[in-house]
Symmetry: C2
Subunit: 456 residues, 2 copies
């Protein structure tokens, strides 16, 4: 046998390629399926199975894409009416070379959630646990809405304790997410785990049934707005791309035309480059921020044009975007910002402030409001007294709460979210925004006053 | 944390890259260290530790190479006097970002063998088990010679049962070899494992102490002849390459000069191409056969010239060769066999026979002897009546047992060892050799007579 973890950084998503005697399965494939196809070519294998642990919420599934390229059969839980693939029954078995893969219905994260237990001649040894059991945490139970929260929390407890734990301490567990995912708030940094390690170390497995259910019901995790679109795409099946879209290189004039025709310029450069000089009305999301914040900040339905420093960054951006269901990338700025500037095209800037500068202006009584974009856990490191807290994903809907007569100084842990947020607000008509370079890290290292996070 | 298995196919060797918070360790590095260096660059990490589970026998260690490139500190068991690096003490701990790595002295495979147990804040979870514990098998105890066989077998039992098993069923085990290695005869196909899975499924862990010791003492595994050279190199430290050697492209005339100057032409093409037309006195070892059989068939101390169909194959061959301690690759045949042939240079051929042809000639009473190069386990599939069995690695030393008055038809499972063997015998002055195309597989699929393997 051969197995490989295929990671999608940012999403902290992990899919798996499993092969035995030339027969392969892919568990929870991502939409850019090139890496799986390279693996079958390199190993002279055939992908016969695509197994989905559940309808994914945080990325567009590559199941159809992979089935289209390879003829593989797709399976997913029968408890949800998918527009493609085949229904899975609890206990259903699949042969894969010398291995047997058994579907285990483990509702809880969602109703149709399944795990896949792999056995060889000596017995079961490896569990693909999807979003049911992570290293250090268990799946969230709130995605189907408040009405099913209790029911799913109860089901998750039972799936974990009556189906997974009895498999035995020795069984290896390969979950669909690692640390940093929006699908579990306490996923640990261990990269692979076992039933026994989770029984020993996972906080959620230490709780009584009632405490577990109460804890899941009060979890209160963010649900990124793009999850609904992902859920719909993964239920009905996304369009098949065939290959990664190749956007066209655009001259400044062509780029302007694309923008005038309704296109959005997505500027994936570092925020400090963006704020210094950018195309008016472009949206900044630094490259590695796309998987995490793209779904919050980039509207669906508008053609996109990428602004990047280098061509390779355009390619990475396109891969990140198609995973989130943005297929309509029509072009990229040929040569980056240089040609735009040299052609005398219009340019916007957003003030970038140092932490010291912000502090001095604060002390001088300048009317400015610091907007902290970090999440609760980051704030445990300390907060800047007098600042306002807003999650980057909630910024637009809460923008009416922001004062109109003050400069809004946006900052996060070290900078990038500040740039994206400033660009978002500016494009929504809130002109008096700036970003703080280096964010909270620069403030703290500068020895400026820091207070504790207050509850509530 | 981040961890990656870096596999060396053929050797079935697995090294590991482990990183936490920018600090990395490499366990049992191979000599071509580019992949580890790519990993540190990609992750903006620093390799601070090179940990060797034992003095390796089957490949040249990359420890010095990696230390030279990164400044990492090398550690290996203090029970052997290494010419480089630092001695390890039982229980010694190393910090690696948020992880702690503890050395556990586990003699048995060799006296200085160590395992490395990785813990995070929640406790131990991952064991790098070297050649002490594999998936499905345990290390061999015969490499230090017959005098220490019993002592090491006893020590291995104690290391396994009193040191590793007590770690707990839930701990993941990451061994230094997978299936196909010369370092354990029953290594299973599972790619990673746990203490609990091995306690449940590993044949060697089911035995009483006495049965275990008896079983290890009667194992009778092949010790490839090149192991001794590897052991010496890894004790004293191999020369540092700095980078992968780049052999020069040679014209037919230059190639001939190199050969006349004592160079050996190593022909890494497929055997059916080799036997059809090759440079006289060249040695055939098909490319993927180098890691497994190179150490048997290629003499140390002679400069090597590679004959391959494509340049990429030359590069792969060089990587395989340096892992086995062959650094003196001086050139390769530019353009492959074509220029040699077109320049009217001398050419040798070896007859290639089909299975049907061999059978007809057998029936017609032609004097020929079938020499089966497969190993014992492969022969359980069946044997060709009247054939002689010889391991490819023993062929030369046993060649006097072969009859001088018959054609020797060399074959293996599907062909490649037959070509390498025919080339070896021919170059040793045994002229009347041929190979059987498709080996035993073609014989069997052709419906020709097959008998059972007899004991003894």
């Amino acid at each position: 046998m051969f197995f490989k973890r295929v990671r999608s950084e940012g999403l902290a998503h992990i899919s798996y390629f499993l092969e035995s005697e030339g027969q392969a399965a892919v568990i929870d494939p991502r939409r850019d399926v090139g890496e799986y196809l390279d693996l079958v070519r390199g190993r002279e294998a055939r992908i016969k199975l695509v197994l989905e642990t559940h309808r994914n919420e945080d990325y567009v599934s590559g199941a159809l894409e992979l089935a289209n390229a390879t003829g593989a059969a797709i399976y997913h839980g029968e408890q949800l009416e998918f527009g493609y693939g085949n229904p899975l029954q609890d206990g259903q078995e699949f042969g894969l070379g010398e291995l047997t893969v058994r579907a285990m219905h483990t509702p809880g994260h969602t109703y149709e959630s399944h795990c896949f237990l792999v056995s060889d001649a000596r017995g079961p040894f490896m569990l693909f646990s999807g979003d049911t059991l992570f290293s250090g945490d268990v799946g969230r139970t709130d995605l189907t809405g408040p009405d099913s929260l209790r029911d799913l929390s109860e089901k998750l407890y039972d799936s974990l304790h009556h189906r997974l734990v009895p498999l035995g301490q020795e069984v290896m567990v390969l979950p669909a997410h690692g640390a940093g995912s929006a699908c579990g708030h306490a996923i640990g940094k261990r990269e692979i785990t076992t039933i026994g390690l989770e029984v020993r170390d996972n906080h959620a497995l230490q709780l009584s049934r009632m405490d577990f259910i109460m804890s899941k019901m009060s979890e209160g995790m963010e649900k990124p707005p793009y999850f609904e679109r992902m859920e719909a795409l993964n239920l009905h099946g996304p369009i098949i791309l065939g290959e990664i879209p190749r956007p066209a290189p655009l001259s400044p004039r062509q780029l302007k035309e694309a923008q005038e025709g309704g296109g959005l310029v997505l500027d994936v450069r570092e925020p400090h480059s963006y704020v210094a000089a950018h195309i008016p009305r472009s949206q900044n999301v630094w490259l590695e921020g796309i998987p995490v914040f793209g779904g919050y900040l980039i509207p669906y339905g508008r053609p996109l044009v990428i602004m990047a420093d280098r061509l390779e960054e355009v390619e990475v951006a396109v891969r990140y975007l198609i995973r989130l269901g943005y297929e309509d990338v029509i072009g990229y700025a040929k040569g980056g910002m240089g040609p735009w500037i040299m052609n005398g095209m219009p340019i916007s800037t957003i003030p970038a402030r140092t932490a010291q500068e912000v502090r001095s202006r604060q002390q001088a009584g300048d009317p400015l409001l610091l907007v902290d974009l970090r999440d609760r856990r980051e704030m445990e490191e300390g907060v800047i007294p007098g600042s306002t807290f807003m999650h980057l994903g909630k910024l637009l809907e809460r923008s009416s709460e922001l004062p109109a007569d003050q400069e809004l100084v946006l900052f996060c842990g070290s900078g990038p979210r500040g740039g994206a947020a400033a660009s978002l607000l500016r494009n929504s008509g809130i002109g008096n925004v700036s970003m703080m370079l280096g964010g909270f890290a620069a403030w703290k290292r500068g020895g400026l006053p820091v207070g504790p996070l207050k509850n509530g």
